[in-house]
């Protein structure tokens, strides 16, 4: 029996799951201390299900806490960015594309040192340990207690980052060290950006993970707990303390994974309709398809694993306007003021919720207030809502074939008719807590991103080696070996080169080993 918890910016949701069954769920406002919201949610779940804390075998937590901290620039630790690359890469020093206020928030402590690797594993320069000890002395002098280490081609070889970490720990006792090889993919600047963000979250991570641990202890839950990552897999709570950035964007991922679980779909499109916006994403093998391009977080470009989402301005509070017979819906919304501004609540703004009530799709507020709406208007609005969803689904599909569509989120009541391009439409039960369910069912994964030179080895051998390595990483992270599967293989040839080199990215996932 597992517990899934989603600590969002607004609500904390908890679910109790056994096998494929959701036994109980509860939603409560998120509290400033995080922990008491979790306790409230869990107490209600236990009360509603007649199960006891000692029956729980694992707890999975998803949280947006760290993303919000960076976006709001609060509780960030002063950190150093150390790039292991000289004499290469001087054209673009670390944090060059950061907003000035965020750079200021963590101090502008940038160091370039000798080292790094070429694409084929050769060293750019040997590591100069004396140089590293000088940097360490400077960090000590400036009282900087967290460092982000990024070496050129760290995804090919992470050894130099590890050695620099050892030296820093010797010289600066208690220093937090973040390694880029643990965080991102090929793309130096973007991987470095993510690593620096990780460094400045180190203290907050310890506080938040401790508050999770304390909350569970208070309820007598002794099972291990895990934190969900942005790719829909889990990390241990100890690892989350070191790499909180890997939780970024885990919310939408969990929501999509939850939708996949609730509907039983492995392939399909998930439409999560909220109050202001809708997120649409595609499922491949039950996991969200990942974005191929760089993703900006808090206005900083990163390249780590994020679900590929299309967001657009349609939700339960979207404002409907009519101009010369032309109707528009959103992108603005009355948001949390729905209960005062919508027509059905005595307000003066025509919203999508009013239309749903007028059409008899939803029983909410005072229906009499929308009786005077022209049937043509109601129909036109419903048509437009469906058209918007259809366009978004079509955009996220990978082929022209019809595909299952899974609707979740409070705003999914707006969809009442068949959708073009959908082979079937599902609105699963418990859709409102899909996030927490997604956390509860999360698996464990391993990933490899590497350049292979195909001289002396065939492409098949290279792919097989990479697959073995990804599976090994998943098992190391706690996956049950018998359940591990390769879920994603991406192969990109290195163009413009006579030698036959390919970049291979492979992901393997398996069920968590639960004792």
């Amino acid at each position: 029996m597992r517990i899934g918890i989603d600590v969002g910016g607004t609500n904390t949701d908890a679910v109790l799951v056994e096998g494929n069954e959701v036994l109980a769920s509860h939603k409560t406002p998120t509290t400033a201390d995080v922990g008491s919201g979790i306790i409230t949610a869990l107490e209600n779940v236990f009360r509603g299900s007649n199960h006891r804390p000692d029956e729980i075998s694992a707890v999975m937590i998803g949280t947006t806490h760290f993303t919000n901290a960076v976006v709001e620039r609060r509780r960030l630790l002063k950190s150093a960015a150390i790039r292991i690359a000289l004499p290469a890469t001087q054209a673009l020093p670390p944090m060059i594309d950061w907003p000035a206020d965020l750079r200021e928030a963590i101090g502008n402590h940038v160091y370039l040192v000798h080292g790094g690797y070429e694409f084929d594993g050769r060293e750019i320069s040997p590591l100069d340990e004396k140089e590293i000890r000088e940097v360490a002395a400077d960090l000590k002098r400036k009282n900087i207690r967290s460092a982000a280490l990024t070496s050129v081609f760290a995804p090919v070889n992470g050894k130099m980052e590890e050695r620099v970490a050892e030296i820093l720990r010797e010289e600066v006792p208690g220093i937090y060290v973040s390694l880029s090889s643990e965080i991102g993919r090929i793309g130096l600047l973007e991987r470095e950006n993510a690593t620096i963000m990780n460094a400045c979250l180190q203290e907050l991570a310890i506080t938040v993970v401790r508050s999770f641990r304390d909350a569970l202890n208070r309820l007598g839950i002794v099972a291990p707990f895990y934190i969900s990552q942005n790719d829909g897999t889990l990390m241990s709570s100890d690892y989350a303390e070191k790499y909180p950035i890997l939780t970024f964007a885990s919310g939408p991922t969990n929501s999509m994974r939850g939708a996949a679980f609730l509907s039983g779909a492995q392939e399909g499109v998930v439409v999560d309709i909220g109050g202001t916006t809708s997120d649409v994403g595609a499922l491949a093998h039950g996991f969200p398809r990942e974005a191929s391009a760089e993703v900006e977080i808090a206005d900083v470009r990163t390249n780590f694993r994020m679900p590929d989402l299309l967001s657009f301005g349609l939700g339960g509070g979207s404002i409907i306007r009519q101009n010369n017979g032309h109707m528009t819906i959103g992108p603005d919304s009355v948001g949390y003021e729905l209960t005062s501004k919508a027509l059905i609540f005595g307000g003066e703004t025509l919203t999508t919720t009013d239309v749903a009530v007028a059409a008899g799709m939803l029983d909410l507020g005072d229906r009499k207030k929308v009786e005077k709406l022209a049937p043509g208007t109601v129909q036109a609005a419903l048509d437009e809502i469906h058209r918007m969803v259809e366009v978004a689904i079509d955009r996220m599909k990978t082929s022209a074939d019809p595909i299952p569509v899974i609707l979740v989120g409070g705003g999914s009541v707006l969809i009442s008719k068949p959708i073009a391009g959908a082979s079937e439409i599902q609105k699963p039960k418990n859709y409102a807590v899909a996030n927490a369910i997604g956390a509860a069912i999360a698996q464990v994964g391993g990933e490899v991103d590497r350049v292979f030179m195909l001289e002396g080895s065939s492409r098949d051998e290279a792919l097989a080696a990479a697959k073995r390595e990804a599976i090994g990483k998943a098992v190391e992270a706690g996956a049950n070996e018998e359940t591990v599967k390769v879920v994603d293989v991406e192969e990109v040839p290195l163009t413009y080169l006579p030698s036959n080199s390919i970049r291979v990215r492979i992901k393997a996932v398996g069920d968590l080993t639960v004792s």
């Binding site: 290469a88 054209a91 694409f119 090929i186 600047l189 996220m396 040839p493 080169l497």
Partner: protein, 361 residues
Amino acid sequence: MRRLDEQEIRDIANGSAILGTGGGGDPYLGTLATLEAVTKHGAPQLMDPEELSDDSLVAFPFIVGAPVPGVEKFPFGNELAQALRTLEDQLGRKVDAVMSAEIGGANSMIPMSLAVRVGIPVVDGDLIGRAFPEIQLTTLTLHGIHASPFALADEHGNGVVLNVIDNFWAERIARAVAIEFGAVCVGVAYPISGKQVKVATLHRTVSFAGRIGKALREAKAAKKNPLDAVLAAADGVEVFRGKIIDVERRTQRGWAVGEAVIAGSDRFTNRVARVRFQNENLVLMVDGEVVASVPDLITILEADTGAAITTENLRYGFRVAVIGIACQPIWRTEAGLALAGPQHWGYEVKYVPIEQGAGAA
């Protein structure tokens, strides 16, 4: 001669992405590096080709190698100055100005990054007027002008000078050197006189890219149709519009080769377009007829934003407009088409000038 401010540099980068016809590399890192160099060394000077004295010496810096290593070990810092020095040592004289080898994509930014470091101007023009992936595909080859001496350099200070018998060998040997330098490095090639610049290069294409980028930016700010703005600034024509319904890719001789299929919408409803690409978009066929082909420019833009989509980012579901821009007249000569026309890329189709193809479509 005039100084370029940050806004103009960004406009040039954005315009160059459209002139990149789906390839040419992302100018993002190059733009950042240029702006960083500008902060340190001052704004670049842009000079009209007519302002050059006939006996001045001009050279062409660019990135050599593969895009993937280029995002880990970006070489456009001191490496550029090192390559220039290597070339100057070989020639026994200073280079007076640099010029873009390729206005489409990432190489549009490289001359500025170098020019501000060494304090010389950038000439307003280039050698292609678009993006091409091989060193010999330039107007200078058509004028019988050698790429060599051709200097390559890395971050350590290593420099190599190629003296090659023709520009095809330049391409082959430079790539072999690039592998040793970490699969990506910079080169400075085609040292020519001011007089040769005046007759054998494409003029004012940097300003052209800047005008396209500016039109795009201003249309967005004014909430006007960005596509119309791009077409007007680039003197382009919309040759198709619709939704991408299939993208097929494969690797051939180390190149990313493929085809995107677009189902027509608006005035192209019920018609199907196929864009064939090899790093760049090369041939557009509508209902089986060639509408546009290399060396004319074929760029796929996101229909709502006017943003250029690179060939590696083409995906099912994108709402796109395909625009065609006439190439520079020299590419339409017999020699130009023999060097870079559809047959060079292995397509058994006849070149159709965009004005003709678009009229028929």
